[in-house]
Amino acid sequence: MPLISFVWVSTLAKRGSGISILSILCSLILSAIVFTRVWNGQPQHFQVHWFSVGSYHLTAGILLNNLSAGMILLVSGVAFIVHLYSIQYMRSDPYLRRYWRYLSLFCFSMMALVVVDNLLVLYMFWELVGFTSYLLIGFWYKRDYAVQAAKKAFIFNRIGDLGFLAGIMILLNQFGTLNITELFGDGGAISNAMIEDGVWISGTHQMPAVWLTLAGGAFFFGAIAKSAQFPLHAWLPDAMAGPTSVSSLIHAATMVAAGIFLIARIYPIFDQNILMLMVITGSITSFMAATIALVQNDLKQILAFSTISQLGFMMLAMGIGAYDAALFHLTTHAFFKCLLFLCAGAVIHQLEYFKQAAKIEFDCQDIRNMGGLKNYMPITFTAMLFASMALAGLPFTSGYLSKDSILLYSFDWASSQTGLMSLVPYLAVLTSLATTFYIARLIFKVFFGSFRQKQRIPVLEPPSIMKVSLMLLVLFCVFPMFSWNPFSVENSWILKGFSADVQVLSQSRLLHILVPLLVTFVSFALIYLASIVYSKRDGDGSVTQVARDSFIYELFYHQWFINKLYNVIFVIPLMYLSRVSSILDNKIVDGLVNGAGRSVLFLGALSTFVDRYIIDGIVNLLGSISKSIGNVTRHFQSGRVQHYMITMILLLLTFFIFKYFS
């Protein structure tokens, strides 16, 4: 099997940089071959007996179906481009060899995770991915912030893994096997396990039905931690501390996608209320992350929050059953988000050179003191522009196809739901609008307007290799790669490939056309609005806040379209909301996490106190009691002869009395 060879090759790549590039390249080619062979073809399954414990025989092997083939191609493609990019990006770094080793380890574990067929082995690679991300985030371990972020990321992943392990336990206990095909295949054990009167029966074992939902919940919990969904997303923004190429590979394309991949892999297990939970978390995460992104000033933080919100989108899609739309969005998102990160990396990289050249200290990641780079870095600018258009979902881009398919699905799904749930699609639309707004804000702040720094030293174009990789990615962002007709979603060939699931897109024509039109129209308006707000005048964030208030009056005065007014009313509460949510997020969630940390530490200190003083105390107490008893009896030996005699006779006397008179 070519597949095994390439998995082996990527482990081989542990050594120097040249070799790792080579290995990634050939793994890309191999996965392409596999992709062509497997796509829409018959899934291949290859197993080897791993070990048997008690009555369970655990086998480890490789399962290739559409899902894994697609993912393998995606992962190796993005990885190859990032490798190419990081040749240039990391050139100056002293510990280059170590960087390449970690990167190859990460690619190996990611590819293996996507391919493997046994849940336990999947869990092993799942944690290995978490571990390698810990190493990569904490790569510049001299910087304390990076190490803290790495630790935080790993702990969050561990929490998720706990859920995953609990899920595995439930499944193993119920079905006796962890093999994905046996469990989740179409004829698999899950589908023919029925639930009657609260008991989940499958073959011999039966367990109360609550455990089925719990199993689904456990796996979902694992996915939340890995894909940084609402409660456990705090680690992703901090994870930006690692090198940009790392965050682009890990936090944009592959690792966070692993969560979605897991859900896709074991989709049948999720029953109704878990799907509902997914929808809720998905929508909350996407909305919240989008609003926070609006306010952020750090280039990479914005991208991080946009990743979270896009992942929220995918989770939402999963929840509403649009299984294939989610995966489609996953693939497109991987490419343009990776491109966004790489461009950001290029910008930061160049600004660092500029900083050394100009010898002035400024945070080269803060977009406030950038601007007007358009004319200095044209190619990066064009690439960034394409990527942001894809992210915003403007027509003629891949983003448009995948995001709008999710929107369509959500509208279909909402029509059948009642009450609060029907709000979900509108929320989704809102989020996508917010996305367009903040990405436009980013573009204008960074590339348009005038260069805020005083010195006029020209910022030179990023080196050639970087440009090549950027261009490659741009290719993927544009629509032709995915479907020949830019507007119609159904017949994109990837969508058909993934549509292994039941959900069929209903053909309500009206809704089908109206929604994308509305969305595109509004997004154009937003971009125009953003351009006015950000590119014309100078000044940093806080000043713009004041200016904008007065400016809004001005804006109002200039605008003659009614919906512009509608947008303005909408912009201010949104801004307010985002600020509140970011404060909320930092206070509550981080507070919660730190609080938990502190309480555990306190508990630890308390238990050592108990352990040292009480238990040790008891033991020493026993020791001292026996010593004191010893002392008391010692005094009897007073050394006086007559006392001995007295005691002897006393003893004799008592003996007599006792004997005689009893």
């Binding site: 010692r634 030996q637 007073s638 050394g639 006086r640 002869v641 007559q642 005699m645 007295i646 006779i649």
Partner: protein, 101 residues
């Protein structure tokens, strides 16, 4: 005929007097005398019962031996007391308590 119980009563009283002397006297020699009293009380008992044993007179023989042994005992005891006196300059048992640990 003097009944045996009288003899026993006398020896008991004598024994207790000896005991009292041995316990509470401050002088080692008085303690020794107390011990002698106790021994004599025992001998008295032996003799009292020995009378009834015609052929063998076991009681009296034991009494004889007892007297002899008591004598030897006293000799050794006095030697010890002399040495104690030489060492401690006093023979008050309460003062001699080096055995205390």
């Amino acid at each position: 005929m003097i009944p045996v119980t009288h003899f026993m009563i006398i020896s008991a009283i004598l024994f207790c007097i000896g005991l009292y002397a041995a316990i509470s006297k401050r002088n080692a020699i008085m303690v020794l005398i107390g011990i002698e009293f106790m021994i004599n009380a025992a001998i008295l008992n032996f003799v009292a019962f020995g009378a009834y044993d015609k052929e063998v007179n076991g009681g009296q023989i034991v009494a004889l031996f007892a007297i002899v042994l008591a004598a030897a005992g006293v000799a050794v005891a006095l030697a010890i007391i002399l040495n104690v006196y030489k060492y401690y300059k006093t023979i008050d048992p309460d003062k001699i308590h080096n055995l205390r640990d």
